[in-house]
Symmetry: D4
Subunit: 206 residues, 8 copies
């Protein structure tokens, strides 16, 4: 009953960004384009801030699905980048799985488009192999809320933990004293409401 709480650990976590491609993003209708773009880039910033190994994969970039969104490409110039020749479940791609295993890490932070396929399938596969999987629900998008609910239920029942980018960042950071400036800046640049607080505070100290 009292099982330990295995928290996200910045020395044991890897980030998987699956199929955030310019064409596929037009299928995402459970978030507005503004908020979804912000959520994805916030997760990417977290990956960089904590220097987590990050793995990118895409499906048919040369075609209607379109290219990986350029911001992501630019943020992770040296990350493993696996264009899948056809496998829908990224876990069926040996390069993708071995890139993950090469990190030696057991906590997978995953987000992608669309939630019910590109996120759900590798999540279920990874859980079956004993990985801990943390699904970033607000950086994963799909057709509508009914589809999202079904997909999250399926992953949750299989053992995945459902999170959001802000909680991922905070669970990794653990203590503000590790870097007040840096982490505050990260939050401020993706949470306008938090940026407002910082600006008001700064002005009041002026």
């Amino acid at each position: 009953m009292a099982r330990p709480y295995n928290r996200l650990d910045k020395d044991n976590a890897v980030v998987l960004l699956v199929d955030h491609q310019a064409g596929l993003l037009s299928l995402v209708r459970d978030f507005t384009p503004d908020e979804f773009k912000n959520n994805v880039l916030a997760l990417a910033d977290i990956a960089r801030f904590f220097q987590l190994p990050t793995i990118l994969t895409t499906s048919f970039e040369k075609g209607p699905n379109g290219p990986l969104v350029p911001e992501l490409k630019a943020m992770f110039p040296d990350a493993p980048y696996i264009p899948r020749p056809g496998q829908i479940n990224a876990w069926d791609n040996a390069d993708f799985v071995s890139a993950i295993k090469a990190t030696g890490r057991r906590q997978l932070i995953i987000a992608g488009v669309v939630t019910d396929v590109c996120v759900a399938f590798p999540t279920l596969s990874a859980l079956a192999e004993g990985f801990e999987v943390f699904v970033v629900t607000d950086a994963s998008g799909t057709f509508n809320p009914v589809v999202r609910e079904a997909a999250l239920n399926r992953m949750s029942q299989a053992g995945a933990q459902l999170m959001n980018w802000f909680a991922v960042g905070c669970e990794l950071h653990r203590d503000w004293r590790n870097d007040v400036e840096g982490f505050g800046g990260l939050l401020g640049s993706h949470l306008p409401a938090y940026a407002n607080l910082m600006q008001s505070y700064a002005a009041s100290q002026g």
Copy 2:
């Protein structure tokens, strides 16, 4: 903990379409008529595309419930078709169950109207007999979201997996290379947003 992920397998799956009748469809209010019709026909196209055995059943077609929607009848001319003389739970109908068992398959993909009865009852019965059941939540409709949530919770807690037609198709297909044209065509005809991507891409290559 690390149980295997038993995926949908096109050699082990059967599709059950329960009571998609013209009259009963007027009870469906958790989807708009446009999107619900599209979802049901998309699932039917998937059944045909993967040549899955498909079983149709109806309740009192001669009466207010109305006939099976004609598109479904036309798509599966040779499928077992079981008009139930009164059983509400299709699993109580011996012909229905033996049609399923005759396929020798253990994975049931089910959708119907209404979710809380025509889908939930046979799902619970089938789970109790050890079948794997995959409920297609967006091709199953009912009175309102509160009813749907209760029904999906009941099925999920009993072991059913909740999915949507798009994920069902992708999990069965596994690899685009198995048939890029065919599967792309299927998606394009039921996802206008994907069709738009294909048209824009084609035009850009023209």
Copy 3:
């Protein structure tokens, strides 16, 4: 894994209607007054149609909570009627529990106002004593959807099955041939959309 599906059985079920009082109903805001009244009366009609033992209980009728809604009082003139002198959880009232146990039945169909208290507390108590509990979510009301979600989650995680009145009726009836007229009439009087189907059909046969 393959546990039997213990269905609602009209020879093993009892209906508990908890605190549907005129005053308390004004607290219900997760359903409109029209639909909530209809749902509660539909469940009551089901109880009568299947001649299920039904137990009524109220909290402080002489006071702001107001009297039991008169339709319910009129429908069950001989049912055990337990005005609780103060216990919030009806299960803490010995008369209520012994009225249940006197029926010898093990399946409790429960609905009430408010969901998070008057339904949730006796549900959790009954589950702890080994009863099967079926919560009728659409005949139970509370302050808002956030509260409802929490309450349903708590009950579901403790083992309750979440249902709606229509599914309760159908699971009890099992086969239309048991009484086509009677059950059709019941549905028609609480589902205007179904009544429309019956009227159109009758007219077409005229």
Copy 4:
């Protein structure tokens, strides 16, 4: 600027119920079936309570549109009843218009299915002929809120007054002292929340 407020006057008003037919009602998706049925019957009760001349019309009852809902037929056995042989705009039917003109009244209270056609067209025609038109928005239904908004905007801009059944009843009644019992009973039978107040009050006086 200070034009007189021409109120609804029970000696100058006529009620027009257009195409509330069993089949067409399944097209109404901007209200739930429960609340829409209640709203239509409430308006009908108001027509009877104030003994307003009431005119019924339908479109193709022998066919998919289905019969007039039987409650309305039963409530107005002697009312002019005009089955239109084909005219979509009821105002194009001479019998309908002359039934209205025969009353000598100038205030038209109109409701129907669907709002954007069966209500809007005769409303616009009647306004053009100088009638005052009061559209009962909650006893008129259509496909979805976007359609409703457009239709109400069109009618409002042409001079129609938008009302709801409760306001119609109150504007006609003017003073509770004209009939406290009767009007209270009417409200209580269509407003469960008001019925609750009356029951609580009665009990407190018990």
Copy 5:
């Protein structure tokens, strides 16, 4: 075309609070109880803050409609208080109208329950007599948003100006320098989000 903007003027405005009674409030479903109570009391505070003449009226307090909410009674002990013996439209009550006319003011700020009757009817009557009417939409409640929309459209088309309590307060105050403390306190006590700003600011100055 360039007509003058007749602003709310604290020397020309009177506040009318119509039928905010404990029973009738249970009919209000287009606002949550928390926010509606807050909005009504905020408007009342504004009336007091600017020492506007305020007129209270009720309908059948001895009965299901219930008493005027006690906070309002307490806030305006000396205000004209007109229990109407039966008139639904308060403007039909001579005492109510003469109380208004006795103030000599021409700008009526009105709120009440329910919007479509108790607010709309006197609004239309007053406009017809040449008063300027400002309807406080968020301190007026009714059955649902469809009803509210119709009522607001009707009043707006007849010349009423639609406002909210915050805008009413600000238009009356005109310049913060008239009373920074007092007006800030009023806002803070009804806008938790503004209170938070004040607390954060005060702490930062600490």
Copy 6:
């Protein structure tokens, strides 16, 4: 006051389809892709059914905006087709305006993407030149409902009439007897709920 009701007249109306391009459609978020596609094609079918002159225009098809949706191109092979070299407001394009004027018609039925620009601008221009303009709100899409509301308000206040495709079709048809089969088929193919009625009716006659 009693101005005539100038109805849509199939001998005086022309249909303008503005910028329904594959890329731009991904910007439409106030309708789901399924329903929007259906609405646009329904309007196109109406144009053809009534043999209305129809004019197509696009903006930068060779580029991100993408090609005109192919179904529209196929349906109107001989229609004037004006690819605008840069004008945002189609009315600024002389070819577009002269194509309209060449028809000699004064009633413009307009739809497009996005509502606030491609529909609103030519609508305002045409109104200023004395055309009657009927905006088909459900075949016009944009970023979100807030934007839509502003755009519809602007057009309505300038004199445009807001309609939906179903009402356009019915106002043009006037009398079912003009073609029962044809018009019924048109409705059935775009209104699944109506198709259900027709199927149930046909079955009941079988």
Copy 7:
């Protein structure tokens, strides 16, 4: 299967209020400011009413997060108050945990801002140490419903019970006879709809 129902027990429960700070509250967008403030203060009143040990903690009050909301500070002048120097998860702060353990109680009632971090992290830590945790979902706020759903799912799957303040109060109180006046007053001051019932009842007894 029949595990006992461990109810909230006023002799075994402690209340944890985490980071309800004036700045952070501006991040809460899944409740309106009015209702959220009311919910938090209602929970605080419950803590006082049942004299539950209550522990307050904050994060960086001197800075953008702002001070603890002053009402809470005033209500619990003698409660342990732990300003955390940097730990995000309050359970990482030794003072916080030892304040809890010093009470000797095993039932934690927790609420805070934001749900997914300040509530979820200590909840998961406490569950792992064998505490029973009751999350007050309506006194905990966060960015949006998608984030809330993920956080509640995570906590529920780890064993937390989801509740609302009203249910917490009722489960602690158990029997109205323990204090009718006091508990009724508490409810009335936070549930306007319940206050209305009490006022109507009192008036009717007048």
Copy 8:
């Protein structure tokens, strides 16, 4: 009837940004923080792109309302900047009005926080003086949609035109050929869905 369509003209328009202050932004609840920030900055970019005279004003920056958001300050270093000493309606501030009049322009494009006060009051004042006013509804925010609707109705009825930032930009630009690169870049940086189209197109040309 056929009045000319006075379009926004880049040689006759001025932009007014009213009270977009860090504290006040926390009051805005009718948009999410992400989308509101994006909308405000998009409008600011438009002002710069078309080199429109732009006027900034604030209310009590030294206090809870907080400083003007720094991005705006940075974008318009030379713009008239009027910190109002107390006037709530900016039009009551002589410096503000004379800054407008100094431009010699008659078209006012206005946005601010909150819509019902800081936008509505100067809008009504300016209309009364004969200015054309274009309210940018999606760059103006307030407490909730009910308040927004009332405010927009009030301004629209007084003659203001309701627009959104995208339509403002397009109406000013008139013809893409004036600057394809520049205007496309502006749109792409504020419309992620449009940026996706551009990226997909560019990739397809690669």
